[in-house]
Amino acid sequence: MPIITLSDLECDYINARSCCSKLNKWVVPEVIGHAVVTVLMLISLHWFIFLLNLPVATWNIYRYIMVPSGNMGVFDPTEIHNRGQLKSHMKEAMIKLGFHLLCFFMYLYSMILALIND
């Protein structure tokens, strides 16, 4: 989702303001969701998956905390076109996409494994 919106912005289909407000809406749910998943993994003692999730969850929280007080969120419309921010956001979104794909297949595999074991 962020990739589509960001590339829309890159190609000038939407303006920076609506793009950023769209993306900022999802920052908090993402942080919470990821944190919950990570904690659940810890509780259910899935160590490998927990360790896999931990850095990404930490990065998400760090990113959210480090937003300067004057900015309008992780994505700031006044700065997104500066200093190659758009590119770095894009890169980050790509990496996350890869990570989530990996996780998806891993969860699928574990689920099937669990079903078979039952």
Binding site: E10, A16, P68, S69, G70, P77, T78, I80, N82, R83
Partner: protein, 1132 residues
């Protein structure tokens, strides 16, 4: 004399064609538009209004308290109002229908993109009444064009020769023409006589007696400016007249703007014109002749005759193709690219060794073919300078901008460095080379600068590239008569039919002679394709702080006085609207509806949910309600004298202002005197006074809340800019407040410790700033797009605006004092091109309701060697760009980081230079001549308020300096960073210049060091916005008596801001020098006389940046420090 007659007649017939732009707009009657706006406004307002509880208290202005009945009346008045609105709504609906129709077709973001070639024929015929005559031309000559084979033809020097052979038939043609023509140019006008025609208008008495070359060299210098002065309508063709009369090498570059620059350009013009006229005076005649005679020849002579002349003309277009491989060989044979340095003596500081008394050098070098930078002697800009040994590196007069190493034709066509400058005038071929040079690549723009000469083009079709939307410019190449190749994306475009006709020469088939192709700075009057809605009227809203603090400071008197004086000079037309809001802990509105006996004040105390108390009478037509406005301005200063309200509800007041402005857009001017303490957007003091002189961490450079940023973006979306005037004695968190102006494309003024009587210097400054602010040009609902040649890309923007998409800057307002900067990177290698171009297009609505596009195009050469990159470095531009980058860095990271980055910029670039020049001694600090001032300027930056540490600096002062760096144009910024110091007690008549019959002495620049200050002297420091006049203790009493008007040093008062008019030569010289300095900039600075015990002394001495302070290096120490760091970097 007859020639004089002829010129105006020809000229006059052009003017009407050009002054017809109103036709474009008449389709949308302004009244209807306004009523539509009103209507919309009402519609949105009323529901809210009636549902609102009657909690507002209403009082009338002044001491008269509005009684209940009156206020009742006001409420009762509304039904008839709404009835009226019903009536109007019919009207409004009509206009809104057409309005929405327009907007449906074009989305706003596509504004600059959208372009349709279909043009209403009525407009076309208006602009070109002669078109119809010429449309049959292609039938005759069109067949000839395809036969023109360009590469094989030689231009330039050959041009002159071939031409003479051509000229015979042309003469015949001309004479015949005369007999038939309506222009009645008499036959005795031989070719020679005809040339000066254009020039005679300015200096007719002189020129008739002189020979042609003489005329050229003399008049070319002044004529541009003077012709334009005569026609001050903004449609100025002086430049064209020149182009037309002189051949391609004419000094087009003399599009001089400041008087200061005038001088430089005059020199350049003199040089080039002398070579031109002596080498080939004939082409001039030819052009003039063809311009006059061509239209008629069609009817008189047989059809084959025009074609040679067309061919001939097409050859002249060849130089535009310079640099594109297909055309290059032929071109190089023709016009030798003259080396940069010899032909422009004024432009190189170190060039004093080759003084300008030898104009022969120019001719010599230009006559030698194929001279380029590498082949000539080592360029001056690369001459190594040993920084630690050469103490006197400052030039005698101001530092000139380097001239790109282009051939003379392109150089003359190029954009003025005042509006458009690149940090590297030789663009490196690849990003790798750029990285190696360790210099930043970027542009510094001053796009909306006040210009004295600006070609304005009214044309129904604005010719642009079909794929990248670039406007046609002098650097495109014409492949043949029908097609042109875009210089940014290399697409081949068709030349529209209409473009074939040149309204200036009134000739057909010469697209390359059109003004768009002859000037790199042009302004188009845009058609309705460039509008999303009808052009808005000028709307000004003043939001004034009237809390106790503000009343105490007393700014209201100055503001109201200034407004009263300049009310008629506010830019605008008959639709101009104005309004006022005041605020303390409540927000007060002023009903100024025409017909009221006096202004009514409406107080809204519900600041948590702000609403507008009455819909349509808060912003009123300036002309209809002028008396009421004057009443209000007279009453305002005394209205709040006894107020005890100390709170300030700035946020709610701004929200109200935004609501008021959103239907139209316009300009909000906010005057604030303290920290906002109530309602939305309230701020807390964040400054710790003990940390002011800390050398470690400077905190709170960024905003504390995003309220102002969000509001600014809302404003920007509604085409409203907010200008902030902060007049406070205490910390007011400018870092947060400034956001409101930064992102809405406003401007920021800051007057620390302002008081109307205790601080007369600040009061005078406010007065002068306001005068400029109120009367300067303004552009509404503007967007700016910066395009560059394929391969280059812009990655960071600096300035006050909102970046709406990758290359589109949204500027709600644009003002002539705003500068912008961009950083660029090289994405693809530029090996297959030898020239790169940059184009800024600023689309705006003028205060007269015209949609206009101002286009600047800059062309620069591409180089492949590192030394060439250094040779073309523009040190001032580099320093300004670095200052912008450092501001960003200190906000996003820390001040210490930014300072380190600045020092590293010097160290890295000088180290890189020294490693390329292998024969240099490593033990010395060597810089190329072009960068010899680099360390000095960086040191100046480090000692500037924005970046200094260790010296006590108030947070607001620091933040303001940073805001200035981001938004000031280069000329002003340089004075801020490195002021000019002059010794003025011994001004002589030697080395003076003459400006408008005034003798202006030119004292040499002094180093910014206390060693230059002698007790016997008097020194003037020009810091851009302020002049310091420092008087030494033992200064000559005659000087004090004559210039300052006091008998001796002791009697000079502490707070002196004016020089008396004493009738003595030294006084006259001093005053003329100071007023000359003042005239060269838009803001007229305040003069502050400083004696030894004056408190302002510290300000003055802080600017002496070459000296050591407790916290910072002296210049020499700084150099040693750099040398040390470099030796660490360099091996061995």
């Amino acid at each position: 004399m007859q020639s004089q007659m002829q010129f105006p007649s020809g000229y006059g017939s052009h003017l009407p064609n050009y002054s017809a732009p109103s036709g474009h707009y008449s389709q949308v009657p302004s009244k209807a538009a306004a009523s539509h706006l009103d209507n919309q406004y009402r519609g949105s307002y009323y529901p809210g209004y009636y549902s609102a509880p009657a909690q507002n208290v209403m009082t009338s202005v002044g001491s008269n308290v509005l009684n209940a009945q009156e206020s009742q009346q006001l409420y009762n008045n509304t039904p008839p109002h709404s009835g009226g609105s019903n009536d109007r709504s019919v009207q409004g609906a009509v206009s809104s229908a057409s309005y929405s129709h327009v907007s449906a077709q074009q989305s706003y973001s596509a504004f600059d993109n959208h372009y349709s070639t279909s043009v209403s024929s009525s407009v076309a015929s208006q602009g070109f009444p002669l078109n119809s005559d010429h449309y049959n031309m292609p039938v005759v000559s069109g067949a000839m064009y395809p036969n023109v084979s360009y590469p094989s033809m030689a231009a330039g020097s050959v041009y002159g020769q071939t031409f003479t052979s051509q000229s015979l038939p042309a003469v015949g043609q001309f004479k015949e023409t005369n007999t038939f023509s309506s222009q009645s140019t008499s036959v005795p006008h031989s070719l020679q006589q005809h040339v000066p025609v254009g020039y005679n208008t300015t200096l007719s008495a002189v020129s008739s007696a002189q020979s042609v070359p003489d005329n050229l060299s003399r008049n070319l210098t002044g004529s541009v400016a003077k012709v334009n002065n005569q026609i001050n309508t903004g449609m100025q063709y002086g430049g064209y007249v020149n182009n037309q009369a002189s051949s391609a090498p004419a000094p087009l570059s003399s599009s001089s703007d400041d008087e200061e620059e005038d001088e430089e350009d005059e020199e350049a013009a003199l040089d080039s014109s002398s070579t031109t006229s002596s080498a080939s005076p004939v082409p001039n005649n030819y052009d003039a002749l063809e311009g006059g005679g061509y239209p008629e020849t069609r009817s008189v002579t047989s059809s084959p005759v025009p074609s040679p002349s067309v061919l001939q003309a097409s050859k002249a277009s060849k130089p535009f193709g310079y640099g594109y491989p297909a055309l290059q060989p032929g071109y190089q044979n023709a016009t030798p690219p003259t080396p940069v340095q010899p032909s422009n003596p004024g432009h190189h500081p170190g060039f004093q060794h080759y003084p300008q008394q030898y104009p022969g050098v120019n001719q010599l070098s230009s006559s030698l073919g194929g001279l380029s930078l590498q082949h000539s002697q080592q360029p001056e800009s690369l001459r190594p300078v040993n920084l630690t040994h050469d103490r006197n590196i400052l030039p005698v007069s101001s530092v000139p901008a380097p001239v790109p190493n282009l051939n003379s034709d392109l150089r003359k066509l190029n954009c003025s460095p005042d509006s458009f400058r690149c940090t590297l005038t030789n663009i490196p071929q690849t990003q790798a080379l750029l990285n190696k040079a360790k210099l930043p690549l970027g542009l510094l723009l001053h796009p909306f600068r006040d210009l004295t000469q600006l070609p304005v083009i009214t044309s129904s079709t604005i010719v642009r590239c079909r794929s990248c939307r670039t406007y046609i410019n002098p650097f495109v190449s014409f492949i043949d008569q029908r097609r042109w190749k875009c210089n940014l994306c290399y697409r081949v475009n068709d030349v529209p039919e209409e473009f074939m006709y040149n309204p200036l020469t009134r000739s057909y088939g010469e697209p390359h002679k059109r003004p768009e192709v002859q000037n790199s700075t042009v302004e188009f009057i845009a058609s309705s394709d460039y509008m999303l809605r009808p052009p808005q009227p000028a709307v000004y809203l003043f939001v004034l702080d009237v809390s106790h603090n503000a009343v105490e400071a007393g700014y209201l008197t100055i503001l109201c006085q200034s407004l009263l004086e300049n009310l008629d000079k506010l830019p605008g037309d008959s639709r101009t609207r104005i309004g006022f809001i005041t605020f303390d802990s409540t927000v007060q509105f002023y009903n100024l509806q025409e017909g009221l006996s006096q202004p009514q004040m409406l107080i809204v105390s519900d600041i948590d949910d702000i609403f507008l108390p009455t819909p349509d009478s808060l912003l009123v037509n300036l002309h209809e309600s002028k008396e009421l406005i004057k009443d209000l301005l007279n009453a305002l200063p005394n209205m709040f004298t006894n107020t005890r309200e100390t709170h300030s509800a700035l946020g709610p007041a701004l929200q109200a202002a935004f609501k008021l402005m959103s239907p139209t857009g316009g300009r909000i001017s906010v005057f604030q005197t303290q920290l906002p303490s109530l309602g939305a957007g309230l701020l807390h003091s964040r400054e710790d006074p003990n940390q002011r002189s800390s050398t470690k961490v400077v905190q709170h450079l960024g905003p504390a809340t995003d309220f102002y940023k969000k509001l600014a973006l809302d404003c920007s979306g509604q085409q409203t800019a907010v200008d902030l005037f902060l007049l406070s004695s205490q910390y007011s968190d400018l870092a947060s407040l400034a956001c409101i102006s930064k992102y809405s494309a406003g401007c920021i003024y800051y007057y620390p410790s302002f008081h109307h009587s205790h601080n007369p210097a600040q009061a005078e400054k406010l007065q002068k700033d306001l005068k400029r602010y109120l009367t300067r040009k303004i552009g509404f609902e503007a967007v700016m797009r910066i395009r560059c040649t394929k391969g280059l890309s812009i990655h960071t923007f600096h300035g006050n605006f909102f970046v709406r998409s990758t290359d589109l800057l949204s500027l709600a307002n644009v003002n002539p004092d705003a500068g912008y900067a961009v950083q660029m990177s090289i994405e693809e290698s530029l090996t297959d091109t030898s020239l790169v171009c940059f184009q800024t297009a600023l689309l705006y609505t003028s205060s007269k309701g015209e949609r206009r596009i101002r286009v600047h195009t800059l062309c620069l050469p591409v180089v492949s060697s590192l030394s060439d990159v250094y040779a073309g470095a523009d040190v001032q531009a580099i320093v300004c760009l670095l200052a912008n980058m450092a501001v960003d860095r200190s906000v996003s990271s820390s001040l210490a980081d930014a300072r380190d980055a600045l020092v590293n910029a010097v160290v890295d670039s000088l180290a890189a230079y020294m490693s390329t020049a292998s024969n240099l001694q490593q033990s010395m600090l060597i810089a190329p001549n072009s960068l010899k001032l680099f360390p000095l300027y960086i040191l100046a930056l480090l000692k500037q308020k924005a970046f200094r540490t260790g010296t006590s600096t108030r947070l607001d002062d620091r933040v303001y300096a940073m805001c200035q760096m981001k938004s000031q144009p280069l000329v002003h910024l340089m004075k801020m960073i490195h002021p000019n110091l002059y010794r003025i007690d011994k001004l002589t008549d030697e080395s003076t210049i003459h400006v408008n019959d005034r003798v202006v002495p030119q004292p040499p620049l002094q180093k910014l060091s206390a060693e230059k200050l002698t007790r016997e002297g008097a020194f003037l420091m020009d810091c851009g916005s302020i002049f310091y006049l420092w008087i030494g203790k033992n200064c000559d009493n005659n000087f004090i008596k004559d210039v300052l008007g006091y008998p001796n040093y002791a009697s000079v008062p502490q707070k002196m801001t004016q020089l008396p008019e004493v009738d003595a030569p030294s006084s006259e010289r001093t005053r003329s020098f100071i007023s000359w300095l003042r005239d060269s900039r838009p803001l007229s600075p305040v003069l502050q006389v400083i004696k030894d015990e004056n408190p302002a002394k510290t300000d003055f001495f802080q600017h002496l940046i070459e000296d050591r302070t407790e916290a910072a290096f002296s210049y020499y120490e700084f150099l040693l420090n750099i040398q040390q760091q470099i030796s660490k970097l360099l091996p061995s």
